[in-house]
């Protein structure tokens, strides 16, 4: 029996879409019993959403005002305590999971595998290295706990329809006071979330200005798509950093990715190569983005994008 604990990411009373993807990954471990840990201030709604994911046996709910907003230094000792009796501890490869899980691994004195993209056995996994330019198959030692982050772009969300039972857990763990949350400047948006959207429209340096970047937003709204940006566009200040797609930004796997005015630097391609269909629009026919695009269109984006909008 492999007992897997998944740490749930959530915000504002809503379970993050990455959790169901972690469940998919955990389900591929043979003979797995899957539990989800919800650490929240008040977490009933999040725990109920987690319990409804198919394949989940148990939800452990830890309620403490110190748990929100989430701070890795505060969550890690609690997760480490909950992890007792589990063979594996998984979290998402989002900034939440990448921040938290190594701290958990250190407290458990366990090794960590980052960005698990495939499961071969309870100890053997595949993960990308060198920005995805190589894939390694790694074997973890048996008889020891293993911590992992799940590369969410590699996994589909597990179905709903689960009926896991929710257990409230009181933890007697000293929590540090050395780290304090001050603020988060999240751009509120009605658009779909970049990391879980089925469609994404991204703009690059060729947009030229913040004002012109509105062209990307209009097309995205027309398609019900999330908005993304290349690193060049973010560095130039056309779009906020949280929209950056690529190795150092978000790694995404939408059904449809439309890259507009993006040349296709390696670091950008790393972030989109799991997209089902890639469309590229660029005035340079030699741009590397066309090497990976399923459909390419050469021309001036300022004429083409409004034309596409009209056709939709």
């Amino acid at each position: 029996m492999n007992r897997i604990l998944i740490v749930a990411e959530h915000a504002a009373g809503r379970l993050n879409a990455s959790v169901a993807k972690c469940v998919s990954c955990a389900s591929r471990v043979p003979d797995a019993e899957i539990s989800i840990a919800v650490l929240a201030a008040t977490g009933t709604a999040v725990a109920e959403a987690a319990a409804a994911i198919a394949g989940v046996q148990r939800v452990l709910l830890v309620e403490n005002p110190a748990n929100e907003p989430a701070l890795a230094a505060v969550l890690a000792p609690q997760v480490a305590r909950l992890a007792q009796g589990h063979s594996h501890v998984f979290g998402p490869s989002t900034t939440f999971g990448r921040d938290l899980m190594p701290r958990v691994a250190a407290l458990l004195d366990a090794p960590q595998l980052s960005d698990v993209m495939a499961v071969e056995s309870a100890q053997r996994f595949r993960r990308p290295v060198y920005a995805g330019n190589a894939i390694v198959t790694v074997e973890a030692p048996g008889g020891r706990q293993l911590v992992a982050t799940v590369r969410i772009a590699s996994w589909h969300a597990a179905a709903s329809g689960g009926t896991a039972k929710i257990e409230k857990v009181e933890l007697d763990v000293p929590l540090p006071a050395h780290t304090r949350f001050l603020s988060v400047s999240a751009a509120r948006s009605d658009r779909p979330d970049l990391q879980s959207a089925a469609r994404v429209v991204s703009g690059g340096r060729a947009l030229g200005s913040v004002e012109n970047f509105a062209l990307i937003q209009r097309l995205a709204d027309r398609l019900g798509a999330a908005v993304g940006a290349s690193r060049a566009a973010v560095d130039a200040g056309f779009a906020p950093n949280e929209l950056q797609v690529g190795q150092t930004g978000k790694i995404i796997a939408p059904e449809l990715y439309i890259a507009i005015g993006i040349s296709g630097a390696i670091q950008h391609l790393t972030g989109i190569k799991d997209a089902r269909t890639i469309v590229a629009i660029n005035k340079d026919a030699e741009a590397p983005i066309f090497e990976v695009a399923d459909y390419g269109l050469v021309g001036d984006l300022f004429t083409l994008v409004p034309e596409i909008e009209k056709q939709l």
């Binding site: 907003p69 890795a72 250190a106 060198y130 790694v138 001050l182 988060v184 034309e307």
Partner: protein, 249 residues
């Protein structure tokens, strides 16, 4: 003494197109340019700026790796670090062992701040800083895009999925750098000459009393699956038509 420790990893230069060896035993490293991990360069630049603002007194760079990592440490000294420490090993050490070695040096050096890159661009683990913070039982701020020293605390703005988060940490603390924190300076020739006279200490895992042997076994390396080049469409109408036909719009 307000001291900042900075981690420096020697790895394949970020401009090199990394290729998997035909026998799957690793990636091609023969004759390949080696450099400082770009995120570590940003970490060093930030430490130097903090010192230049008078908010720190000494910047110490640490590398854990082969003898040749002395080259990267010399570059770091030329950028402006005051002294360097190499923990010499020929093993492919994993983040827990690196963090344990850093912890030993932290105990010896008593820094007020440790700044590391958010990840190394070879193994892409993104673990060492968080592990060090846990072993040391101190605060962590990962993916930093802004660092403000404020007496006994440091305020760090982090690049997170939701946007920019700002947290406050009591010192000493561990910070890992993201790309937009700063743009590292170029090294000037006179500084390279000066760097040759700066102290560079060499130690090893046995001296520090830590186990360096890897616990994870890499069975094989493979190139990633390649995407096929697709088709070119002639205009907006044709593009929308094919996307409609595939049910994508």
């Amino acid at each position: 003494m307000r001291r900042i420790l900075v981690g420096i990893k020697r790895l394949i230069d970020y401009n090199v197109r990394v290729r998997v060896r035909p026998d799957g035993s690793g990636v091609v490293t023969d004759g390949v340019k080696m450099s400082i991990n770009p995120f570590d360069e940003i970490a060093l630049e930030e430490a130097l700026r903090i010192k230049e603002r008078g908010e720190a007194d000494e910047v110490v760079v640490i590398s854990i790796g082969p003898d040749d990592a002395q080259q990267q440490l010399r570059t770091a000294l030329a950028m402006g670090a005051d002294r360097a420490i190499l923990v010499r090993t020929d093993l492919a050490v994993e983040p827990p062992a690196v963090a344990r070695a850093m912890q030993k040096l932290v105990e010896r050096e008593s820094p007020s701040l440790v700044i590391l890159g958010k990840q190394a661009i070879d193994d892409d683990c993104s673990q060492t800083g968080q592990m060090l913070a846990a072993y040391w039982d101190r605060p962590q701020a990962t993916f930093a895009s802004k660092i403000e020293m404020a007496g006994p605390v440091v305020r760090v703005t982090r690049e997170v999925d939701a946007g920019l988060e700002t947290i406050e940490l009591d010192l000493p603390a561990v910070i890992t750098t993201d790309l937009r924190l700063n743009e590292p300076r170029y090294v000037k020739l006179p500084d390279i000459m000066k760097a040759k006279k700066k102290p560079l200490e060499v130690t090893d895992f046995a001296t520090l009393g830590i186990e360096a042997a890897p616990t994870l076994r890499i069975l094989r390396y493979e190139p990633p699956p390649q995407r096929q080049k697709g088709v070119m469409v002639k205009d907006a109408a044709e593009l929308v038509a094919v996307l409609r036909q595939k049910g994508l719009v």
